[in-house]
Symmetry: C2
Subunit: 154 residues, 2 copies
């Protein structure tokens, strides 16, 4: 853990907010060297997935030409929301450091804490209902996947 990288993420987040972007940023570090940074640009790019961590992960993967962040550390100005937590688990860095908490984000008007709460509910009972519709062909994509021996697991 290098506190200078955490401060760099916080300063990037403050700068993003000053310019009208979301008040969040993240930095990906490999072997002690920052390789990618991202700030929230949801409203600037009309992309609700353009959270700081997602932007930084995508850029770091582009730099590494890999869909994995093996051995990397990610420094976040704020605790990742559930979307970004999921993205980080799929990218599989070694560890993640964050400064502000989800409660701090909620106090500033962001829904992170709400979404964490929704995850614990049964899908159909969530604020946005997620409805399971069984379909006899739903296993077909997995059967196609398993039929290929040369798949790259991710």
């Amino acid at each position: 853990m290098n506190p200078a990288f955490l401060k760099q993420a916080i300063e990037h987040a403050a700068e993003s907010a000053r310019r009208g972007g979301g008040p969040f940023a993240a930095l990906v570090v490999k072997d002690g060297v920052p390789i990618a940074a991202g700030a929230n640009r949801v409203t600037a790019s009309n992309d609700p997935t353009a959270h700081a961590e997602i932007v930084a992960i995508r850029e770091a993967c582009r730099v590494l030409a890999s869909f994995q962040l093996t051995g990397c550390e990610v420094y976040c100005s704020c605790e990742p929301c559930p979307m970004c937590l999921g993205a980080l688990f799929w990218a599989r860095p070694a560890r993640i450091f964050y400064a502000a908490t989800a409660a701090d984000a909620a106090a500033a008007g962001f829904d992170d804490a709400l979404i964490y709460g929704q995850l614990a509910l049964p899908p159909a009972g969530r604020a946005i209902p997620m409805i399971h519709v069984p379909d006899g062909s739903s296993a077909r994509p997995f059967e196609e996947w398993n039929a290929r021996s040369e798949n790259v697991r991710y």
Copy 2:
């Protein structure tokens, strides 16, 4: 709920798997008309965030020139993973339908169920540790954000 759209998502997912992509797809529908579709392209694009739902949300938002999917329905070949669930909550469609379950995805070798389990653990105890490092300046991005009256809430 239009079962034809769910079948369309499943067929798209099977086609993606046949071509070597991930066995997942999603379709965004507004006013009864599909406006965007996405299949998983994690390995093809070296982007661990390129799940079907994320690809479809980004495309639908581009089509609508909005960071919200107000009034839309999303049809998923499989229950969204935590990353995609979070993305859907940020995009705020009216409702979500899915065919296969997270357990089906796990049986096919995908980590969705693992990540759902990780979310319930304290951050520092997760398989990828998420470590809270308090920093005296961590509130600054939110202060900058709140100092601007013209912010677009997202």
